[in-house]
């Protein structure tokens, strides 16, 4: 098991020297006090996150751990090149499958995986989004299993959430421990909102002939990520709109304001494809803006991300991302995938079924850590039940080995303890590709747990990229 903080010899790894020094000097008791303070601040600011299906408090806090997770400058350089490469390939793939489908004709990816994919939107065929960008914000979930290798666990091409934690965790750390940041050793993350706004402005639709009006579309204040929506809109200085604030007239999109209708050019939407437009997708849906999809297709407004982007971050497609990189970019993938078995393939299926107790099985379309099987932690009964599900519908599942995720120090009940972590950076795609040096580190707070999702008892940490 790789420890982010300690080398095998027991000495502190170079990137963690500053953190180790600080923890030793402050002492566990003091840090625990400050941890409570931090929680009170989060509560006061109102940074909350609701968890679907759990009931209870709709405005719950994600636990925040004080001890930062650190990447050295050279580690980040490698990661950053790999993330940007992957982001380019994913967008090239999306353009391709909604146009000529070269990668399918070449037999690199099976056609049915794309065309019969629930996230594939036939209505998007032939549509040219501005700049050929489909996924404007790509969240790449990365894990580390040893000192040398980072592996991608999954891609998030639709509307990856959590970036507000990257910003707020840093804010809190700087507020509580300003001295840690004095020497300028940590790369700043606060330019993210400016870069996001620039990215969104760069993909203004062809019919926009003025400074584009950008808005953030949220399902509303009951949505679990509402805090993040409002936070980002605020930092970008743009309107936070709900579907009922928008309407379509004369082939353009407008918002209702106190001075009458105001034209909207770019919509950073944080609602799912199917809820964008009841006329195009779900006639029975009360959400959405009737007619929006047509305006989008005719270049009257830009939707970020483009409808149908989900076909690229599906877990069955994930398997082929390294092939995409070779196919579209002619490059060698800089970040590896986690070895993955597709239950749709007969050989893979039989391997998976006979090794369930050692594997993690996930749903192809699932997210948030719901509905998955973690073999080593499951009872025999659970495994048998899952086996039946896989057999009934093999195409719905993929399996991966139980990864030995790296561990990072947290402030636990018994002092400094080691817990498993992953990492999600946020890559922006407009006219150019931008990557803020930072991201969200999620940590499995339960001892021994490998599940970092906040819905399953995960917490978050500030993530430091050390300056050169």
């Amino acid at each position: 098991m790789f420890s982010e903080m300690y080398a095998d010899s027991g000495s502190v790894r170079a990137p963690y020297e500053k953190v180790a020094e600080w923890v030793a000097a402050a002492g566990v008791d003091l840090l625990k006090l400050r941890q409570n303070e931090a929680e009170a601040i989060f509560r006061k600011i109102g940074i909350t996150f609701a968890v679907y299906g759990e009931g209870g408090d709709p405005e719950r806090l994600i636990p925040f751990d004080l001890i930062p997770r650190v990447f050295g400058a050279s580690e980040w350089r490698r990661l950053s090149r790999g993330i940007k490469q992957r982001t380019r390939a994913l967008n090239a793939f999306l353009y391709d499958v909604y146009h000529r489908g070269e990668i399918l004709r070449a037999g690199v990816i099976p056609e049915e995986l794309v065309y019969r994919n629930a996230a594939f939107l036939p209505d998007m065929i032939g549509v040219d989004p501005p700049g050929r960008v489909y996924s404007h914000i790509v969240g790449v979930d990365i894990v580390r299993t040893d000192g040398d290798s980072f592996q991608v666990l999954e891609d998030n091409c639709r509307t990856p959430s959590g970036v507000s934690y990257m910003l707020e965790n840093r804010e809190i750390m700087m507020r509580m421990f300003p001295q840690l940041f004095h020497a300028g050793i940590v790369e700043a993350v606060d330019s993210y909102p400016v870069q996001l706004k620039r990215t969104l402005e760069e993909v203004a639709p062809i019919k926009c002939d003025d400074d584009p009006t950008v808005v953030l579309l949220t399902p509303g204040s009951l949505n679990s990520a509402y805090y993040e929506h409002s936070f980002l809109a605020d930092l970008m200085g743009i309107e936070l709109v709900e579907p009922q604030d928008l309407f379509i007239q004369n082939g353009l999109c407008w918002m209702r304001t106190t001075r009458g209708p105001h034209r909207v050019d770019v919509i950073y939407r944080r609602i799912d494809d199917t809820y964008i437009d009841p006329l195009a997708f779900k006639p029975d849906s009360l959400l959405g803006v009737p007619g929006l999809f047509n305006v989008y297709r005719s270049g009257g407004v830009t939707l970020c991300s483009a409808p149908g982007s989900g076909v690229a971050d599906d877990k069955a497609i994930y398997v082929f991302v390294p092939d995409m990189i070779k196919f579209y970019l002619g490059e060698k993938p800089l970040l590896d995938n986690v070895p993955t078995w597709r239950c749709a393939a007969a050989d893979d299926l039989s391997y998976v079924l006979s090794n369930l107790k050692d594997l993690v099985v996930k749903r192809v379309h699932g997210s948030g850590g719901y509905g998955m099987l973690i073999g080593p932690h499951a009872t025999k009964k659970e495994i048998d039940a899952f086996r039946a599900k896989i057999k009934a519908n093999p195409g719905e599942f993929i399996a991966q080995p139980t990864l030995d995720l790296s561990t990072a120090p947290i402030l636990g009940g018994d002092g400094i303890e080691q817990r498993h972590v992953d990492f999600r950076p946020y890559c922006l795609v407009g006219k150019e590709i931008r990557l803020t040096p930072g991201g969200l580190t999620r940590v499995a707070l339960k001892k021994g747990s490998l599940v970092v999702n906040s819905s399953q008892g995960g917490g978050v940490k500030d993530t430091w990229i050390l300056a050169d």
Binding site: K44, I45, G220, Y226, S230, E239, V241, D245, T258
Partner: protein, 309 residues
Amino acid sequence: MLSRTADNMFWMGRYMERADATARLIEMGYRMAMLPGSNEMDEWRSVAAASGSAPDIAEAKSLKAGDVVGRLLLDSENLSSIRSCLTSARANGRAIRTALTQDMWEALNDGWRQLGQMDAETALRNLPSLLEWTKNRTAAFRGASEISLLRNDGYFFLRLGGLIERADMTLRLLDVKYYVLLPETDVVGGGRDYHQWTSVLRATSALRAYHHVYRGDYSPWGIADFLILNAIFPRSLNFCYRSIAHYLDEIDKLYGETHPCQRTARDMVARLESLGIEQLFQNGLHEFVSEAIETTRRLGGEISRAYHF
């Protein structure tokens, strides 16, 4: 600005003002009920009536302090209770989080669950500190918006909501207590009347201010004049309406549009400026107050129509 944002700003302003005014109203009842010779039930009855949200209690044969406090402070079914007002104001703010400053949000968010689990008995026992707490919350919110919010349409709608609510509250208090101010009841030296009059001032936090303006000479005319016609007392009808007209003009300047609501506000200001208190009593205080309540209600509707919310 989004119409929905304007709507939420307006109501956030109203709810915070209502929470504040309701706290002052309960405070008045609490104080009056303690006075020797007072009829505790009557005092609480007038509090219930003035709040406008507990007509059944106001008309009940017998009632206890706990009934009124429960209804006006804690009852989540009563949309005008302090608890409901604070929760609604926070929900308004949360729905338009980006239109608020961090300071304002913190003021709304801090301790909003405080009243959630409380029962009437506990509330009654801690009444003075709970009312103080409420006034502090609303003051912190008002202060935060005063020092941190941009002076654009969002601020104007927030203030308009608060001012309309405040005008309404002063009017409703006068509506309930007008009989105390009628000339017939002007019996010199009666301790009861003295307390009754001062209670009206107290509910509007105007006791000291009144001293400064009228040199301590309590009279029904003075009090009615102060609460209706005085131009510098911030809870008087005149002050509220002048401010409403002012903010509507500011929005007009910003948008370059004129609407009927401006007319309504200006007409009321003109009327208040031309009226003398003698005339007001001659024409009938009660009639005037009822009309003004109706005008204020209409004005709220005109504002929301004008700005599409």
